[in-house]
Subunit: 388 residues, 2 copies
């Protein structure tokens, strides 16, 4: 464990098949006006909308609908949400959906009472929040982002072709989140596996950084093994409760600040993936999978001992009489095979990237410094080419 | 992940070499009267007492000293603490020490304003807290119990020869805990290894229960591997910061409710160990180590697949052409060797138990039902005999 740090995660989680009932315990803590934020309406088809509305009504809430939150929430939608929130004196934003809806709800929660353009303040200048924050609660219907128990909120600005995540502090974390694995059953397989890879990548982004034998490294190996195990079951049987519940729980702990404590982190796959996302509007998890193998093969020589450990501890690669390079390579090959097994996007061309976009994507990729090699924009360009 | 559950851990942790400075951030949140609870005075020798007092004075606090908290805090001491707390209108109990001091502080926090005998109410009848609770903060100088981030508070009643732990709810968790690995450097080796085994046993108590492939099982395997790795380094070099910090962090996460969520747990080693402790006043971790091997060898046949998994995933036992029994046995032998390497108590005779005590200890052992075999008192007696 390196450096000095503090840890506190105030989000209360309700987990399980009956967890929606706990909404009855949380709602009385907030005022009358609830803004119900959700996506394209799938929650109306699968009955979750009706169940949530029933509980809201039973608790005497006035509900202000805020539908149409898109997979990559835009600044345009953010401003719309802020208007609803401010005009109706909203006491609680209830996000019902996946990571995009939760991210969006948090972005609205800090932006509604921001006295200047929130995109400029919170995304371009990355300032701390000094205005009123509207409390957020989440009902999760899709897993992957970990947004249900952290301060992350990614927003896309189409005009500027920028997709940026601000990681807000504890005061912006959801007050509560309801995690019912059954709510994720009806998700199309493509969305499920994109979520699985998002989880995996959250872990590898934090794992492939630093050289110490940190407790977090061991925890992350456990999370990865659990995820790989459960994802293979869920792929065959999407309604296996155990598998879906373990995936859901792994997602939360992969990105709720715990495993990053006391260590450095990378996040370059997310930076490249988000740049691809800003150009293509492709599913977040798929943008990550499509650039991952090229990225990890590129940085492997710079963090060889960790890639060797990854191969042995996560993928059970036997070390006998192999070189470190061979062991590390075998581990990455195992990961690639698992990704193909899941049916993930393995190149960015399939996501709509064309040759003429590569330079723009490379240039707009934000360079982070925690990984085994600080990339140049030329290297990002090469990784993008290798991902075509 | 089984059943429905909620998760929320409100304790704020400050970790690192400079973490005591954060006391300056916490103290202003509480009133003027601080009760400073600590043990036998080792904190006066190693300078921690002076540092804490300086910060308390700088923050304008009136300090009420409450020293002499013993390794197994007694009801007599508890009543003494309650008197100090109530008479002086204490606003914050600051526990400086190890798990015993933290446990004691929490027991005082719920007992001071209890309008009947707190031992009867909270330990014999295990009731919920319905009276005023005094906030508790901790400065940790010894690791193992996880008391710094949970609601556990073990108290010993010498007259009744009972050592009982009440696991209180979130409202009793410490408000903050300061974890400085350097503060644990001066601990005698015997105390250090007793703490290490306490951590290990917290994990195995939660691991050896249930049959599902739960994310928690993978997390616990990670915690155990980290602990085994770091303990071997700390044994040779007690001032290895990395090793001591990883042990400290592992201790917290081994028993702060996380890994027990969504699964069943055992706790029989603690029940037997605590009964031994009530008769001998031996160090908690040593009572656990002294009965562990006999207990685990006794229940191994009833949870064979988990013991096999333990052998392979935690101790890297190679499965090639061995029976499940052989693999499981090899894993337990690895654990025993590691325990001997640490210099732990491996039998209860060395802790002061005599033949004539065995029946009384067996009879006073509380039987829990979450393990692979619900024991009879006769079986407890046999385990105690095998531990002599």
């Amino acid at each position: 464990m390196l450096g000095n740090f503090s840890y506190c995660n105030p989000t209360k989680l309700y987990f399980g098949e009956d967890s929606l009932n706990f909404l009855n315990e949380e709602l009385p803590k907030y005022g009358k006006n609830v803004m119900l934020s959700y996506g394209g309406g799938s929650i109306k088809k699968n009955g979750i909308y009706d169940k949530v509305m029933e509980i809201l009504k039973a608790n005497g809430k006035t509900v202000f609908e805020d539908s149409g939150v898109m997979p990559n929430p835009t600044t345009t939608k953010l401003y719309e949400g802020c208007k609803i929130a401010k005009e109706n004196d909203i006491d609680l934003i209830l996000a019902v959906g996946g990571g995009s809806v939760c991210d969006y709800a948090k972005a609205v929660s800090v932006s509604a009472y921001c006295d200047e353009n929130p995109w400029d303040k919170y995304y371009l200048r990355m300032e701390d929040v000094d205005n009123k924050i509207i409390p957020v609660g989440c009902v999760l219907t899709m897993v992957g982002t970990g947004s249900e128990m952290n301060g992350g909120a990614v927003i896309t600005n189409h005009e500027q072709k920028l997709k940026i995540g601000h990681v807000f502090g504890e005061n912006v974390f959801p007050k509560f989140s309801i995690l019912n694995p059954v709510f994720t059953y009806t998700l199309p397989q493509r969305q499920m596996v994109a979520g699985v890879y998002d989880i995996m990548n959250h872990i590898t982004e934090q794992y492939f950084s630093g050289e110490d034998d940190n407790t977090s490294d061991y925890l992350m190996e456990g999370l990865m093994k659990s995820l790989i195990y459960s994802s293979r079951i869920a792929l065959v049987n999407p309604t296996d409760y155990e598998a879906r519940s373990n995936i859901m729980w792994t997602a939360t702990w992969a990105l709720n600040t715990l495993v990053a404590k006391g260590k450095s982190t990378d996040w370059m796959v997310h930076m490249i993936g988000q740049a691809v996302g800003a150009y293509t509007d492709a599913t977040h998890g798929m943008t990550l999978s499509a650039v991952s193998m090229a990225y990890y093969r590129h940085i492997c020589p710079y963090g060889l001992s960790k890639f060797k450990r990854f191969a042995m501890n996560v993928w059970n690669v036997a070390p006998n009489s192999k070189t470190d390079e061979q062991i590390a390579t075998e581990g990455l090959n195992c990961m690639e095979n698992w990704m193909k097994e899941l049916g993930l996007a393995m190149n960015i061309r399939n996501l709509g990237v064309t040759e003429d976009m590569l330079e723009g994507i490379a240039k707009s990729t934000f360079i982070m410094e925690g990984g085994y090699k600080v990339l140049t924009h030329d290297e990002v360009f090469e990784i993008l080419r290798a991902s075509m």
